[in-house]
Amino acid sequence: MKKLLYSIAAFCITGSSIAQMDQEIFLQSRMTGTVTMHDSAEMSVMYYIQDNIGGPSLPSPTLYMTEGDSVKIDLHNLSMGAPHTVHLHGLDVDQQNDGVPHLSFEVWHMDHGQYYFKAPHPGTYIYHCHVVSTVHVQAGMYGMIVVRPEGNDNITWDGGYLFDSEQTWMTSEVDPFWHSEGFINTDHDSTMMQFQLPPLNPEYFLINGLSEGQLVDNSTAINIEKGEVRYMHIAAIGNYMTKYVFPAELNAKIISSDGRPLATAIDNDTISLTPGERYGVLLSPEVDIDDFVTVDFIDLNTQLVTSTQNIPVLAQWPFGIGENQGWNIAIYPNPSASEFTISGTDNISGDVLVQLCDVTGKTIDPKAYESSIGEEIKLNLAALPNSSYIVKLIRNGKLIHTDWLTKYAK
C-alpha cells in the first residue's frame, strides 16, 4: 500500500512529464547466479541487469543518461525473496525517488517500482540498493551512472574538457561468507527493525569486479593511443579507501568530484576515494607506456594497505588494434585458457603469416606457442603466462588484421 501511495504521489508530481520521458531504463534485480573470482572461486551475488540483457556481474551495468533529460527507471524485482530499491547516489533526487525504504518505497518480489527524476549535472554517479544497505551493497547491488552533457558526448560538461574515449572504474570488495548462497538468499525484509550481521572480512579486492590476472580484461586495462584523451569515471562503493597511482606519463588531470567540476583542475598522478566518492580524471599520454596503475585498498580503521592491485596500461600502439582491412575476422573463445580459433568469412589460406606480440609490442618466439593454419587458424597459448597478447595476421608482407587475445587460465 505504501509503495502504491508513493507511486501515486510520484505520478501526481511528475505526471505531466511522464508522457514526455526522454529516457526510460528497465532494470531487473536478481539474486540467482555467481561471478568468478581470479582464483576460480564462484561467488553468489545480488545484481541488476538492464533491458533483460546479461547475467550476474560486479558491478551491474553502467547507466548512461543525458543532462537535463527526464528519466524513468522501472525496477522489476525478480529476487525470489528480498525487496530491493534503486538509490540514485549523488543525483539529489527528491525524497520519494531516493530509494531509501522507510523514507520512500521498496519493490517486492515480482513487483515493479518506478523512479522519476532529472539528472541536471553531467558527471559520475552511483546507483545501489538501499534495503539493508550493508548487506545488499556488499552482495553486489551497485553500478555506475554517467550523465553526459546535452548535445556532445565528447565533452565533460558544457564549457569543459574535450575527450576521445571514456572508461569506468568502480572498486569494491568481496567477503566469501557474505557471498555464500545461503547468506545471499536470506530474506532481508526491510520491514524488520534490525538485522544481526556477521563480521565483514573481504578477501577479494576488485576493480570492475576483477582482480589480479583478471585485470588484463579490456573493460579495465587501459589501452590507449598516443595523443588520445580518455575520460576516466572512477567510483568507490566498498568498505575500503582506494588510492590510485597513475604512471606519470599518463598525465593524469583530476577535473571533477561527486558530479561537480573542480574550480581548478589538478595535475596529480595520485587520487584517493573513500566509499561513495567519485572522481573524474583525464588521461592524455604523449609517449609510449607499458606500465600499471596501482590501486591500494586501505583499511579505513587501521589505515594499512590490505591489498594492492595493478591495472595494466599500454599506450601508443604502433597500429590500430582491431583494425580490419576488409577481412571479417572472428576470434573465439576470447579470453581463453589455451586455444584460440581465428576464422573469417573467406577461408584463411596458408599464405597468411601469424605473429604474436606481448603487451609491449615485442614479438614472441613462435616456439613458445603452437599455431596451425588451415581454413582456420588455431593458436594454443597454454605455455604462455596469463596476459593480453596481440595477434597480427600478415599476408604478402601486408598487415591485414590485428587484434587482442586474452589468455587467462584459472
Binding site: D94, S133, F195, Q196, E277, L300
Partner: protein, 285 residues
C-alpha cells in the same frame, strides 16, 4: 556627534572581538550507555562534575578567547590540548584544576582532547569540539566517533592497547547511534528550503569516515586537513581521524534525507543494522 557615534561603534566592535568566554570544564569518568543497551567505560569533558554522555560543544565567535578552568575529577592524570593551536598540552593532575586561555586564528571547527597515551585517552571518549564562527546562520555540530568496545575495556583495565588490528563495532555522532542521533538537537539538521545551514563535523575516532548526504550537495567552507578543498561541492566527504570539516547546505527542496557513513559497516552497532552512524536531514517548505 556623528563622529562620536562612530567611535562608540568602534569601541563596541573591538570589545566584541575581545570577548572572553569563561567556562568550567570537568573531566569525568563513568560508562556510556550504548544503543544495544550495553555499557562501555567512558570518560568525557562535561560542563558540571556529573557524568554526561557527550563532550561539551563550544561555540564562540571569531576573535573570542575561550577561557577554560579545567577540573580533573578522575583518579588519573590527564592532559588537555586543542589540535591546530600552538599551546602546549596542559597537564592536570588527578583532583587538580588548571586555567587556560585559547585564542583561535581562524573560523572553523577545532578538536580539544586528551593527548596523553595517545590515542588511548582520546579513544576512551576525551575529545570534543570548539566551533569558531564567522556567521549567524543556523548551525549543527557532529562529533563523529568509533569505538571497539573490547579495546575500551582493555584500556580501562590499565592495559596498553595496540591499534594495528583495530576493528570498531560502535559508531556514534555526539555519542549517539541511530535512531537516537535524531533526538540530539545539536546533531539533527532541520531547516527550510532556501536556508543557509552550516554543519560542523569533527572526527575524534580512529577510523576514516565517509559521510554521504542524500538529497543535496554541500560546499566545503573549512577543512583542517585539506584547506585546498575549500569550495568543493560534494555529496560524500572523507573525514580522517582528528580532522574537522565545516559544510554549508542551502536546501533546494523539502524532504527527509539520510546522512550516513558510506562505509556501510559503520551504520551498525556490534554488527546490528541499522544502529550506527545514520541520521536524517529534515527540510520543510
Amino acid at each position: 556627534m556623528k563622529k562620536l557615534y562612530f567611535v562608540c561603534l568602534l569601541v563596541l566592535g573591538l570589545s566584541a572581538h575581545a570577548a572572553i568566554q569563561d567556562h568550567d570544564l570537568f573531566i569525568v569518568s563513568d560508562s556510556l550507555s550504548l544503543i544495544d543497551n550495553t555499557k562501555m567505560p567512558y570518560k568525557v569533558f562535561t560542563e558540571t562534575n556529573s557524568f554526561q554522555g557527550k563532550n561539551v560543544i563550544y561555540n564562540i565567535s571569531e576573535g573570542d578567547t575561550l577561557r577554560l578552568n579545567i577540573h580533573n575529577t578522575d583518579s588519573e592524570i590527564h592532559h588537555f590540548k586543542v589540535k591546530g593551536l600552538s599551546n602546549p598540552a596542559t597537564i592536570i593532575a588527578a583532583g587538580d584544576s588548571m586555567l587556560v586561555d585559547f585564542v583561535f586564528p581562524d573560523a572553523g571547527s577545532y578538536i580539544y582532547y586528551d593527548p596523553l597515551n595517545y590515542p588511548d585517552n582520546k579513544s576512551m571518549g576525551l575529545a570534543g569540539m570548539i566551533n569558531v564562527k564567522d556567521h549567524n546562520h543556523s548551525s549543527f555540530y557532529w562529533n563523529i566517533k568509533d569505538y571497539q568496545k573490547s579495546k575500551s575495556l582493555n584500556i580501562d583495565s590499565g592495559n596498553v592497547e595496540v591499534w594495528n588490528n583495530y576493528y570498531p563495532n560502535y559508531f556514534t555522532i555526539n555519542s549517539k547511534s541511530n535512531p537516537a542521533i535524531n533526538m540530539d538537537t545539536d546533531a539533527r539538521v532541520t531547516g527550510n528550503v532556501g536556508d543557509t545551514i552550516y554543519i560542523y563535523m569533527v572526527n575524534t575516532g580512529q577510523s576514516i569516515h565517509s559521510m554521504h548526504y542524500h538529497g543535496y550537495h554541500l560546499e566545503i567552507m573549512n577543512s583542517s586537513r585539506k584547506p585546498s578543498h575549500v569550495g568543493r561541492i560534494k555529496d560524500t566527504f572523507p573525514l580522517f581521524p582528528m580532522e574537522s570539516l565545516v559544510l554549508r547546505l542551502i536546501p533546494d527542496k523539502p524532504g527527509e534525507y539520510p546522512v550516513h557513513d558510506h562505509n556501510l559497516v559503520a551504520v551498525t552497532a556490534n554488527m546490528m543494522y541499522p544502529n550506527g552512524m545514520f541520521t536524517t536531514l529534515l527540510i520543510e517548505d
